[in-house]
């Protein structure tokens, strides 16, 4: 097992709905999708966003797109116009998640 940064295996896009941020990650190759499903759990994402995501993390699987969608509740200081954050819509959370290091057999 080797440590790899998620950005080598996936690309991503993030957005917002109120105080919830969503981060969708997409496998760069079909064979990477099972690795994402195994390694990038809701628990690990919650841990990764410690101090940013104050609520729950929910994970949804989209095998048709080789993608996972995460909802990060209570992550935007109230969201929208209320938020005092430089990124009140979580637009940069996509690449924040891609910093995660995961265990991979070989690529």
């Amino acid at each position: 097992m080797a440590k790899r940064k998620l950005i080598e295996l996936a690309h991503a896009r993030s957005g917002d709905k109120g105080d919830t941020a969503n981060v969708g990650i997409i496998a760069r190759k079909p064979e990477y999708y099972p690795i994402l499903v195994r390694e990038v759990t809701a628990e690990r994402v919650k841990e990764h966003f410690a101090g940013v995501c104050l609520g729950k993390v929910q994970r949804y699987e989209l095998p048709n797109l080789g993608a996972l969608n995460f909802l990060l509740l209570e992550s935007l200081d109230g969201g929208g116009t209320l938020s005092l954050k430089a990124d009140p819509q979580g637009k940069t959370y996509s690449s924040a998640l891609l910093r995660m290091e995961i265990d991979v057999d070989s690529l």
């Binding site: 957005g15 969503n22 969708g24 997409i26 929208g80 209320l82 430089a86």
Partner: protein
Amino acid sequence: MSKVALGGAIDLHCHFGPESVIGTPHSVDALGAAADAADLGFAAVVLKSHDFPSNAVAYAVQQQVSGVRVLGSICCDYWVGGVNPTACKDAVLDAAKRQGISVSVATVAGDDIMDRLDAFLARGIELKNMDTAEPLAAVRAHVQSANVYFGAWPVVDALAKGAEIVITGRVTDTGLALAPMIHEFGWKAGDWNRLSAGTIAGHSIECGAQSTGGNCQVDWDTIPHMEDIGYPIIEAEPDGTFCLTKHAGTGGRITVASVKEQLLYEMGDPHAYITPDCVADFTTVHLDQAGPDRVRFSGIRGHAATDSYKVSISYSAGFKAIGMLVYAWPDAYKKARAADRILRQRLDRLGLRFDAVHTEFVGANACHGIASAEPSPEIEPQLAEVVLRIGVRSENRAAVERFTKELAPLALNGPPVVTGLGGGRPRVEEIVAYWPALIPKREVTPEVTVWPSGS
């Protein structure tokens, strides 16, 4: 100002008095503004009023002032345009008439439920916040607007009645793409798979060029001609399949990867993407690269629409201000952190209380927070600059106002080598916050009206 500097210029946004909606008086009336523009050699001036479409005033002023073209316009606010479809319709018909064009315009109204809020609350329709479950009564006194999101069907109705231009109040982005498909292909209410296909088509094109190479992480640095990026086009088939493409010769790049990114944008539960028209299932989408800059969608399925509309309510939620100071090498991050501590001690000592005080260090870890980790001990002292970005939020305007006066002294009385106050004090902003709620569909009815040319 001189003729040399302003000769040939066009003032695209000239407000004039008197005006009833805005509290502060204007320095000029329409005639004065046009005369000034003519004196200074302007090519044209566009008059804008918060009270009315300004076409007629512009016409009258033009009879009095020569040497400059005087044009009318609308303001996109409640009273004149924007979410006032009737005012927009007047402006469109007026412009068409003056150019000798015959056009049939429809309006979709009925979305504005501001005047009915108290009646709803009295009948036990609580308009609870979809995120917090709090009833609207908690902020009722601060509500500024309340609009129902209609879907495709009122637009379909307008098209069926012969409208060439449809001006709506609040309608979902996806409904705007779905409506012409329903109209053209004769899709039926209850055909949930096709309605879902049209809805997903709408989602895939609703954010500028985000499906055609904009904001795309895959090979972003080789995406061609972003200065002339092509916006997405949907080529739809009656069976609910469609292709996403763009005009030949435009920049950008459409790939399965670029489209997948947009599909996941602002996504909640992908099995249940709820709109007024259907519940679309994004886990059924099948994508193929059907050619260069061309992705084909197929297999889309969905479920029956719910019995609710979403309501977009805005309310006043206090005040905020955000200030920034730029600290330069050496030890930029250390200085910015010290400045934050000093500023917070000052605010404490002044006895100011805020609902939130939020500090970020732009250049160190503002975007990614703890996920980006602290800059390493080797890198930290070498950072070229770090921006201290600090914001406060409060119901109390005076407290926020006082905060904005604390930043400039910090540049003189705090850690060294700092800049960034050229723009003056941070602005105190009133927060107009968003309150999403649901309302039973039976409570509201879209009002579709077709206005023939010349009406």
